[in-house]
Amino acid sequence: MRPEHWFYTLPLRLRSLFQRNQVEQELGEELQYHLELKTKEYVASGMPIEEARRRARREIGGIEQSKEICRDTRRVSYIQDLLQDLGFGLRMLRNSPAFALVAILTLALGIGANTAMFSVVQGVLLAPLQYFQPDRLVMVWENNPRFPRVWVSYPNFRDWQRSAHSFQQMAGGMDQGVDLTGPGAPEHINGKQISAGFFGTLGVKLLLGREFSFEEDRQGGTAVAIISDRLWRSRFDGSLEALGKSVTLNGVDYIVVGVVSSGFNFGQQHADVYTALGRSDPLILNDRAAHGGIFSIARLQPGETLARSQAEMNTIQNGLDQLYPDANRDLGIYIEPLKQVVVGDAGKVLLLLLGAVGFVLLICCANVANLLLARSAARAREFAVRSALGASRAQMARQLLTESVLLSLAGAVLGLLIAVFGVKSVLAAVPESLPRNENVGVNASVLLFTLGASIAVGILFGLAPALKSWNADPQGSLKEGGRGSTGTHHRAQSGLVIVQMALTLVLLVGAGQLFQTIQRLWDVNPGFDTQHLITFKVGVSHSLTKTASSTRIAYQQLIERIRQIPGVQAADFTDTVPLSGQGGTMPFWIGSQKPASLQGAPRLAMFLTGPDFLRTMGIPLLRGRFFTSEDTTKSPCVMVIDSVFAHNYFSDRDPLDQTLSAGFSPVGPCRIVGVVGHVKQWALDDSSTYIQNLAYFPLYQDPDQWVPLNYPYTTIVVRTSLDAATVMPSVKKAVYVGGSDQPVYNIRTMQQIVSESMSSQRFPLILLGAFAGLALLLASIGIYGVISYSVTQRVHEIGIRMALGAEKEDVFRMVVGHGLRLAFAGLAIGTAVALILTRMLPSFSRLLYGVGASDPTTFVTISVVLTAAAVLACYIPARRATRVDPIVALRYE
């Protein structure tokens, strides 16, 4: 019945709305006609015409009242009233352009900053992953008693694929950089080795071509590759003929069978080429105990839950553990939603920052509310008259709220422009540490957020004057010297200023603590000399690395050429550069007793380095010796441990000449020949969750079968007093001696690496600092506004004081004292709030280093800064107060 109903009534309602005048006119005409007929009736019954008319008119009742009732029944009055309020509001704002401008600008800043921050939160945290039904996708890790997540073993993975029923499809992948040498210039690109069905599991359609088949996904299968959109356009001109052509990766030709669309991304590394996982190195694929970097994804069957799939996989893994105790003992499975893996810890920090920018918005609202309060005092008379004319309190409150929302929406429009610009700068500031940052932008949900936020904000700060008007006494305002509502305004305004100060303090303290943290981190001694150190990688030509021995020779010749460069003091290879986020751990044992369960064995972090590494890095040698050129595959294997390792495992005996074995496919037992100083491998702040036992193994003693895997993974570190721009051209020349198809990439100084290791603090600091600065500016303006207004209101009182003998200094002190009182109240509240918050937010306190969450220095410094700002803000109004001429002031009543 309802839709039918609307069909009849809608045209009528629309007409009432849009053709008001005509409808009114028609009603008038109708009533007029009725009047005439009635009159005629009375005349016909013998009444004189005048009396007839009068009687008829009386019976019709008030025509206007009739019209009014009809109008009400038309039930569109809400919208009409709203439109009327809007029109009126616009006129009022046009009449006070200065006020409108200030309010709109303030709101634009607040709303703009919030929109920018929300875009980031939305893109990184809230938006679903761009795969088909992404909430059904999970990441399947292995785990052991020490680590919650361990790279997957390939034979285990294949067994899972065969037996798991809770998954619709499973796929595996491994990140692997490759050297692209054709077509086109040599370039080192990011690659992924994926199993057949990888894109199918994600539910992603390729732009061109197809996925790998099962025949291609095994040893000896045809060498095929899928390339990224970027590669397709740069190397094949985006031509459809690309399929069937080949790319040369690491010296081998792969036929292109597919192209991925440009929007696709998986994981941190944006891969440019995909090859088959099954064609990877057999050392990793066939060894059930190898956990070399393979991850696996899966899609849950429709109706299946994560908990049930975890249970099923546990059973399967238990079965495998029974079958293969050597490799799999203590190995479990951990299933995690894919989104959680992608977003990681970034979410918590982002939410923190969103809260911080929310504070800024509150401060903005407080400023605008204060402005409105000041204005509403001036409009008190207007409202008194309106209420006398019959406007209800609800109507007036609605009028005020409409004006506020109007201001807010205007601010939002301007704020959107600020936001677009702001998002760009945020992304430029710290691009890498943010997962999914390609997703960040001002899109539909962000616009919706802005709309909702600006309406909410408008209502929020509009409440202040609306509530005031609710309680206003019209009598008092209508009187000539009406000063009735100033007192209450004062309290509200002061309250708002105190809140502003408190919020600003919290933000400044947060930013200050982060800043101090970064300073402390820079002061930390990482265990090596970070100055004058340059790192880079070289994609050694594959014609030189056909065998293990030729590889060793090629690498040795390369490093020798680099050492010869004038200005280079030392150089060597390492597979792990400290603080660069690289590095893996492996189980170890001392002596000859191999532990029953490798998974449960203690761990060390292993560096594979050349003999000159120690000297290049400036790591102190504490005991014994480091490697020499005598340590080759033909001599007994040796290892070097660091001081922490020695302390943990050799506190009661001399580590030298003990034997050490390490790895899932173990190396050793090797003789320990030296002890070196400890190096901060994982992070400057030395999180105790990471393994601190460090050990070194000579690169040139790496067994033949591992050479093709490990050597291309190495980085060259060079100690030189020259800067990168000067020395790198000579380095490149030295590299190209061995072949011009060898890309030199990832060139970074150690200082840059150290700086990037602090990016988890730098990113929030930049934003929090910006927000705090904005807050300080707005709060200062807030205090200025309120004190200035108060001085204007109290001109009379100041005049009296001066007439009674107060000096200029006394007046000055009085005004500044007022401002300081507000500031101190705000500081007190803010300090309390900051203390509670910094302790209660672990996502913040985890970022801190060397600075306690309740460290007094920060609080004291910030308080001083805020007090100074308050004094500065009060200065001009205070000066104005001193210049009041008591005679003039007293004359104006």
Binding site: H5, E30, Y33, H34, G61, S66, C70
Partner: protein, 111 residues
């Protein structure tokens, strides 16, 4: 002449709908017809007539059309819609139920 009784709340809609079901009329004619057909017992004040008609129009039960009359004037004629016919049936049924109930109570023998 006894004072015409005030109309029971809510029955005005029913009466107007029924009158318009008989034939389309303008507002004045409706009030006249009501007086005539009820033998002067029921009448609607002019002040309540047009609001009531408007409400019926808003609900979609009657629809209006401007028709020319003598003297080159035009008048608004109301007629029943399909929806209105259904509403009339509904309200008639309600009225029968209500009046039957009241009659039953009034007819009860006093002690």
């Amino acid at each position: 002449m006894s004072k015409p009784s005030d109309l029971v709340q809510g029955t005005l809609d029913l009466l107007l709908l029924k009158i318009l079901a008989l034939e389309p009329l303008n507002g004045y004619a409706v009030s006249l017809r009501l007086k005539q057909v009820s033998g002067d017992v029921l009448q609607v004040s002019d002040g309540s007539l047009y609001p009531a008609l408007h409400k019926l129009e808003q609900e979609g039960w009657i629809t209006a059309e401007w028709k020319p009359t003598e003297n080159n004037r035009r008048a608004k004629f109301y007629s029943l819609t399909r929806l209105g016919k259904k509403q009339l049936e509904k309200e008639s049924a309600n009225w029968s139920r209500l009046s039957a109930a009241i009659s039953n109570i009034v007819k009860l023998k006093e002690a």
